[in-house]
């Protein structure tokens, strides 16, 4: 409206300014440019999507998808996965006592025996899984201070407001602050292989390489200062209320895995997408000789330092052992989905072919009178 009223104004002959926006080129008496764009005659591709052209595509999709699906399905099936729930809900389960007499200060241990029916080849990945744990709750997700975790000095002593109510404790700033850090999963899991003779041996668990490389090396950083003595760096801060030990004692033996760059911590800080999730805990490297499987079939015992309460919110804790393929962990969904879609496409192709055969003929007949 405004534009047009301006155009009218311009016509009053007092001046000949540039053409107003509303009436492009209106007052000019020039012949419009004969360009392809202005005449809407730009060269154009004109795709035609018809049964005839789509039919082969359906077959092609079918032919590509079904093999991929089968491949995925087979791969997924070849992945060994073992899962054990050690929450201790049942009265007769080993961890029942721990789960009931739970208190933050007293550590409780329990051991869960299990046996593997099949050997696990190659690297085995050990996960812990939590159920009904809403790591994706909004209040929870935002309760962190990434600049503190990135080693920002000022954020260390003055954490973000988002960390409330886990920001200040005993008048000292909490490092790392926030609900996520505060609820760090602190069960300790150890795995023993039980020889048939009853003696048992501890399986070595590697705790490196479980977090994203970029997280470990860029996103998470300890505050600047004496790297060997994190105690001084963190001296003005206090540990999260639920933690047993301060952040600089997460892994006292390895300075590269201590403080904010502790990999268990980093893994935990990557909030899960769904309330039932798993997180990578440890890696069991394959044997050097490559002759024996990483985890031979037989009896095992899972020793748990049971620190983490889940029964208050009706949660579950699991330990998962899994091998990994090129597509990741075991998940039959992709394979099935690919096979299904491939078959549907193939089927549709067939149906279309039949329909099109009749439809096309009928149409051609109908065309003749015209």
């Amino acid at each position: 409206m405004m534009a047009s009223s301006y155009t009218a104004k311009e016509e009053d002959g007092h001046h000949s300014g540039s053409a107003a926006a509303g009436g492009p080129g209106s007052s000019k008496s020039k012949k419009p440019d004969n360009t392809a764009f202005k005449q809407q005659r730009l060269p154009a591709w004109q795709p035609i999507l018809t049964a005839g052209t789509v039919l082969p595509a359906f077959f092609v999709i079918g032919l590509i998808f079904i093999p991929i699906g089968i491949g995925l399905f087979v791969t997924s099936n070849n992945i060994r996965e073992f899962e054990i729930d050690y929450t201790g809900v049942d009265t007769n389960s080993p961890c029942n006592r721990c789960s009931q007499t739970y208190s933050w200060n007293i550590s409780c241990t329990c051991s869960v025996p299990f046996s593997l029916e099949q050997p696990f080849e190659s690297n085995v990945f050990m996960y812990y899984g939590l159920s009904n744990f809403y790591q994706n709750h909004r209040r929870y997700v935002k309760s962190r201070d990434d600049s503190q975790l990135n080693g920002d000095k000022s954020s260390l002593t003055n954490p973000s407001k988002e960390c409330e109510p886990y920001r200040i404790s005993e008048k000292k700033p909490i490092a790392p602050c926030g609900a996520i850090a505060n609820s760090l999963f602190n069960d300790t899991l150890e795995l023993y292989y039980i020889y048939p003779n009853g003696s048992r041996t501890l399986i070595p668990l590697v705790k490196k390489g479980i977090a994203w490389w970029t997280d470990k090396h860029v996103k998470f950083r300890n505050p600047p200062g004496n790297n060997d003595n994190l105690t001084i760096t963190f001296q003005d801060t206090t540990k999260p209320v639920n933690w047993h030990k301060p952040v600089y004692e997460l892994d006292p033996n390895d300075p590269d895995n201590n403080g904010f760059i502790n990999e268990d911590f980093i893994v935990w800080m990557r909030t899960a997408a769904l309330p039932t999730f798993r997180k990578l805990y440890r890696i069991i490297q394959k044997n050097k000789d490559n002759m024996t499987p990483t985890l031979p079939r037989g009896n095992y015992s899972l020793e748990i330092a049971y620190n983490y309460p889940v029964r208050s919110f009706d949660g579950r804790k699991r330990m998962i052992l899994s091998t990994i393929s090129w597509m990741g962990g075991k998940n039959p969904f992709l394979g099935i989905a690919y096979i299904t879609v491939g078959s549907v496409c193939f089927f549709l192709g067939v149906v279309l072919l039949i329909i099109h055969h009749k439809y096309g003929n009928r149409n051609n007949n109908a065309d003749i009178p015209n």
Binding site: S5, Y6, A21, G25, A44, Q46, I68, R138, L280
Partner: protein
């Protein structure tokens, strides 16, 4: 409104309510004791809306008055105030963007206006003050100032002409910039003013400012020292309008009467009422649906949240305690803020950007109309003009076309054909040599005896020469002189057509030229005497005493002249209907036959009558006219009364026939419009026979068409009361046209439905007013509905003898009828303005009758034939484009937000957003906006040539077909399907979040990013599937958008952004791409979501120019590509078919 404000401002003075008094030169007058200089506004033109100071608040206020902007502002404020899941930036940024862009655009336009204003206001003018000429800036002119204007300058304000350098006290102006009439108009000085303006002592009393350019009433009191004050009447001929240009006159002096914003020009530039298109109404309806979806989503989530929280341990588990503030909040308030938070989270379903994109599409799209070289008319060197871009798509929805006849269907290029004098017909021969007599008569009766008497002939020709307001075009004063010196020679040496005549109506020129062909030449008007050269090459002089102007109500005009012999003669010409009752009846019958025959041949006829006035009669008439002209109040009515009194008992001398040729391709255009399913109504002021013949010529009526007449003639046939007859006829026609007609089958084109009887309906103005405003006792509404039903069942309707207001009435009646059809009015003259403004779409033709129609229209085209392309091609394409744009926008936001909604079920109804804030913000602004904008500007699902050749295609989109609930439902279901697919597809993938080959797991931001990636690719590819016309721009924006998305995601996740509180997406995208499973699921989901569309496209019957060629190709196709892409220009799109 303005007047009231003025009264408020300068009020208290009761006298000035209806008139203002101006003291010429600010000199107090002896008559008024106390000279109070009245205050009027200054001469500053303010067309700008804002100043620097009030721009921001005023512009913001205006913008937030729009309901959509206000809604987004509320959402933004909620985000600022309440603890909401997304930061205020996500909705603030787009809103800010929209507001800023609009503000910049409006600011720029206002700046241009300021610049124009400045130029006008600072323009130097010369003002006479105390005997000296003082240069002033234009804005400093005050009412009462005496202003000097020199040749070729525009008048700085409305002036009363006091003095001119021309001898005859006239000046010439051209009002091309006001109404487009480029002829020179003569304006007169106020008679008897003193030559010395310094000693002039006068007051002017005139009406308060009003916008009618052609109306002015005033009175000038001239005080001379020792005489009674003289009173002179002032009319429009004394008023020089601001904006007009002085021509052929060296210098004039005038006194300013209206200044600044009170000038007629300024009053005329008030905005028109805004028209809204049907698409916009659909958008609003859809918006309501989506608002309901939004609210119900928020309600569902809020309810479920509290149900869920009431379970043990879910509300506040130990790992996720509430802050103190949250704990303290009152629970109902918490519920409310939760509801608001969900609203905010889902508010993207109603996109801000849609409004921007729609506006941009309309604005940019309208350029294609102005750019179209097919609309360029070499004659007037102009193309089409778009006055509003809001109605582009409405051009594709027109159901009723109301067209003017003269100048629209016909060229308004009049050519004198023949005349009839005293019952004898004189057909014009093209030979110019017959100066000595017109012996060429109509073929079979070509006997000399059959001619009328010589006296009658000459009287008739003199009448033609005298009774008009034509001016002879003066190239310059020199030429006039030479004309006078050796006039005969120069006249004879040049063909007569070369003589330039200027008149407001082309009929007059045709008649004067016609008289010239018969030997009587009008030489011009000098000193109020008209010079004509008769057949003997003698110059005759007639004193022009009075001109009784033409007006459409009287439908005639007269002049009163005094010949040299002292006779006072009144010549009158006008429409037969207005002349016949005023002449002696025995003369009528001889001429009526000719008139009617000429009318049926499609000529415009005028009757000429004369009357000799006795001195007494003249004295009476003269006094009456002068009195009426001086009247300040009701001058029009008084003049009319005197005119009617004078123009009686005349004697008829003859009639003329003038041909008005059809516009180029008028018939083809009309046929195409009818083929496109539009009903064409001709509304004309012309007489029935003429209009009917034009309709036949335009093929609106065809041989087989049965005409239903509802005119005064048919009403009076029965010899009964008109009302009764009307009732009877209406019922009869209704039975014929409506009840007996078989129901119209959809899709049957008119040209093929020969089996059906076609009806044409003819109604005239008098009958129409009987129908529209019947006497109160009759069942009035019944007439109207009967009438409407008959009209709707006729292929063409002709309404003749219409007054301008009746045209608008008809349009309004159809517009408000059942189903509220979209109407289009097309016309070229001032009398069409009312219907142009009334119709949904008003089209002006840049014709010969001035610019008023063009100025009031929404679109202006040079010729009628351009209407075909404007509607069938541009309108069709615009409609398809914008309909697709709207549907697509709703669809893409539905499948954008649905996963976010579903995610609430898995995150404890905590309003956790699925996507990162950057994605939420950028989705509509960057990632998916350009492809649809390009699509909505460039798409040609059917080639333009094909659209023009097959008018029936227009029917496919009639009645807003693409924005009905059906298609809307389809898009909505598609959006829901895809949204579900995206979310659950990824959810099943995440049942094991260890998706990388190193066993590491993905978190919630990876989840969102995968869904978002699928989403962006799917909606973009969906558009790609719908695109039928891939120019390089489409390729560029579609693939460019996707590339930009990938690039942006890398970039956004590649850096630790210092200004972000949380580095949520740090390397999320890169990690996602390193996972084979993520790739596989993305490909799978994209394909699966597009599958229904591909299937539907296959099953849908192929349309357009490809329909046939595709069918031919089908059996042999063995190619393995999804798309058969043919690189071809759209112009050669047929070359595909062998």
């Amino acid at each position: 409104m303005l007047r009231r404000r003025i009264n408020l401002l300068f009020g208290g003075d009761e006298k000035r309510v209806d008139s203002r008094t101006i003291y010429v030169g600010h000199r107090p007058c002896p008559a008024t004791e106390a000279f109070i200089p009245p205050k009027f506004c200054d001469n500053r033109i303010v067309s700008s809306k804002y100043t620097i100071w009030n721009f921001l608040p005023k512009n913001l206020f205006e913008q937030f008055r729009r309901i959509a902007n206000f809604y987004f502002l509320i959402i933004f404020l909620v985000q600022v105030i309440v603890d909401t899941p997304t930061s205020p930036v996500t909705s603030g940024l787009p809103l800010f963007f929209v507001i800023t862009v609009t503000a910049i655009k409006q600011g720029y336009e206002d700046w241009l206006r300021h610049k124009a204003d400045y130029e006008v206001n600072k323009y130097p003018v010369i003002v006479l003050e105390d005997g000296r000429s003082i240069r002033k800036e234009s804005e400093k002119i005050k009412v009462g100032d005496i202003v000097e204007v020199v040749e070729d300058e525009t008048f700085p304000c409305d002036l009363i002409l006091l003095q001119s350098t021309r001898d005859d006290d006239t000046c010439f102006v051209t009002t091309a910039s006001l109404d487009g009439e480029s002829n020179h108009k003569t304006h007169y000085t106020v008679p008897d003013t003193e030559k010395d303006l310094q000693s002039l002592n006068a007051t002017i009393e005139c009406e308060q400012p009003q916008p009618d350019l052609y109306k002015f009433v005033g009175r000038m009191h001239i005080y001379k020292t020792d005489q009674e004050p003289a009173v002179r009447s002032l009319g429009p001929e004394n008023l020089l309008l601001k904006g007009a240009t002085l021509k052929n006159t060296k210098k004039i002096y005038g006194v300013a009467v209206y200044t600044g914003m009170e000038t007629k020009m300024a009053l005329n530039y008030q905005g028109k009422s805004q028209k809204r298109s049907a698409v916009e109404k659909s958008i609003n309806a859809f918006l309501l649906v989506y608002l309901c979806i939004l609210i119900s989503k928020a309600v569902v989530c809020t309810t479920l949240k509290y149900v869920w929280q009431s379970q043990d341990g879910q509300d506040e588990p130990w790992y996720n305690e509430k802050t103190q503030k949250e704990k303290d909040t009152y629970v109902y308030l918490k519920m409310f803020t939760d509801f608001l938070s969900f609203m905010v989270l889902f508010n993207f379903i109603i996109p801000v950007s849609m409004y921007v994109t729609v506006e941009m599409q309309k604005f940019l799209g309208s350029f294609f109309i102005t750019w179209d070289k097919d609309f360029f008319d070499p004659e007037i060197q102009e193309g089409a003009l778009v006055n509003t871009s809001d109605l582009n798509e409405e051009l594709g929805q027109v159901e009723y076309v109301f067209t003017d006849k003269t100048g629209t269907l016909t060229q308004n290029n009049m050519e004198y054909i023949e005349c009839c004098i005293d019952g004898f017909q004189y057909r014009n021969s093209d030979s110019m040599s017959e100066l000595d007599g017109f012996c060429v008569t109509d073929g079979p009766v070509s006997k000399l005896q059959q001619k009328a008497g010589r006296d009658k002939e000459e009287l008739f020709l003199r009448a033609l020469c005298l009774c008009h307001t034509v001016q002879v075009k003066e190239a310059g004063p020199d030429e006039i002189d030479s004309d006078q010196v050796d006039g005969l020679v120069s006249e004879l040496s040049q063909p007569d057509e070369q003589r330039g005549f200027i008149a407001s109506s082309p009929d007059e020129v045709a008649l004067v030229k016609g008289a010239m062909k018969h030997g009587f030449t009008f030489l011009g008007l000098e000193n109020k005497s008209m010079k004509i050269r008769n057949r003997e090459n003698n110059v005759e002089l007639y004193d022009l005493l009075h001109v009784l102007n033409f007006d459409p109500v009287r439908r005639r005009m007269s002049v009163i002249v005094r010949s040299k012999s002292g006779e006072t003669l009144l010549f009158c010409k006008g429409a037969d209907s207005s002349i016949f009752p005023r002449v002696r009846q025995e003369e009528v019958d001889r001429i009526r036959m000719h008139v009617e025959r000429n009318a049926t041949e499609g000529y415009r006829t005028l009757c000429v009558a004369y009357k000799q006035l006795s001195p007494e009669e003249f004295a009476v008439a003269d006094a009456g006219l002068r009195d009426a002209r001086l009247a300040l109040q009701d001058r029009e009515e008084k003049l009319m009364a005197v005119y009617n009194q004078v123009e009686t008992s005349m004697s008829l001398i003859g009639a003329t026939a003038v041909e008005d040729r059809l516009q180029e391709e008028a018939a083809e255009t009309m046929e195409a419009l009818q083929g496109a399913g539009m009903k064409v109504w001709v509304l004309t002021g012309d007489k029935m026979e003429t209009a009917k013949s034009t309709c036949y010529a335009c093929r609106l009526f065809q041989r087989g068409t049965e005409l239903l007449e509802l005119t005064v003639r048919t009403l009076e046939d029965g010899g009964r009361k008109r009302e009764e007859r009307l009732h009877e006829l209406l019922l009869d026609y209704h039975k014929k046209a409506v009840q007996d007609a078989p129901p119209v089958k959809a899709g049957v084109t008119r040209s093929w439905s020969t089996a059906n009887q076609e009806y044409g309906f003819i109604v005239d103005g008098a009958t129409l007013s009987l129908v529209m405003n019947p006497s109160p006792d009759t069942n009035s509404s019944r007439y109207k509905s009967l009438f409407l039903q008959i009209c709707q069942n006729c292929t063409a309707v002709l309404c003749c003898r219409m007054a301008p207001l009746q045209k608008a009435q008809i349009v309004k009646m159809v517009k408000n009828s059942k189903g509220s059809p979209i109407t289009l009015s097309i016309g070229d003259g001032a009398n069409d303005v009312s219907m142009i403004l009334e119709a949904h779409v008003g089209i002006g033709i840049k014709g010969k009758e001035g610019r008023q129609a063009v100025r009031n229209s929404d679109y202006a085209i040079p010729k009628l034939k351009h209407l075909k392309k404007l509607l069938l091609a541009h309108g069709h394409l615009y409609y398809v484009r914008i309909a697709h744009l709207v549907q697509y926008f709703f669809y893409k936001n539905l499948c954008f937000i649905l996963p976010q909604f579903l995610y609430q079920f898995f995150c404890g109804y905590s309003q956790q957003p699925l996507y990162d804030a950057a994605y939420l913000t950028m989705y509509n602004i960057c990632f998916t906006s350009m492809p649809i904008l390009a699509f909505s500007l460039l798409e040609q699902h059917i080639a333009i040539e094909y659209l023009l050749d097959n008018a029936t295609l227009y029917r496919e989109i009639a009645k807003n077909a693409m924005l009905k609930w059906g298609p809307f439902l389809y898009w909505t279901v598609l959006g829901i399907f895809q949204g579900l697919l995206f979310f659950f597809g990824v959810k099943y993938l995440f049942s094991n979040p260890a998706l990388q080959d190193n066993g590491q797991v993905f978190g919630n931001w990876s989840y969102g990013t995968i869904v978002f990636t699928v989403l962006v690719f799917t909606v973009t590819l969906k558009l790609a599937l719908d695109t039928r016309h891939w120019t390089w721009i489409n390729h560029f924006v579609i693939w460019g958008s996707l590339a930009f998305y990938v690039f942006f995601s890398f970039f956004w996740g590649g850096i630790i952004w210092p200004f972000l509180k949380q580095q949520r997406l740090y390397f999320v995208f890169a990690n996602m791409l390193s996972s084979v499973s993520a790739w596989l699921v993305i490909i799978l989901l994209i394909l699966l979501s597009l599958l229904p569309d591909i299937l539907l496209m296959v099953f849908r019957k192929p349309r357009g120019p490809h329909a046939r060629q595709m069918k031919r190709r089908l059996p042999s196709s063995g190619t393995s590509t999804i798309f058969m892409l043919s690189q071809t220009t759209s112009t050669h799109s047929f070359s595909w078919s062998d």
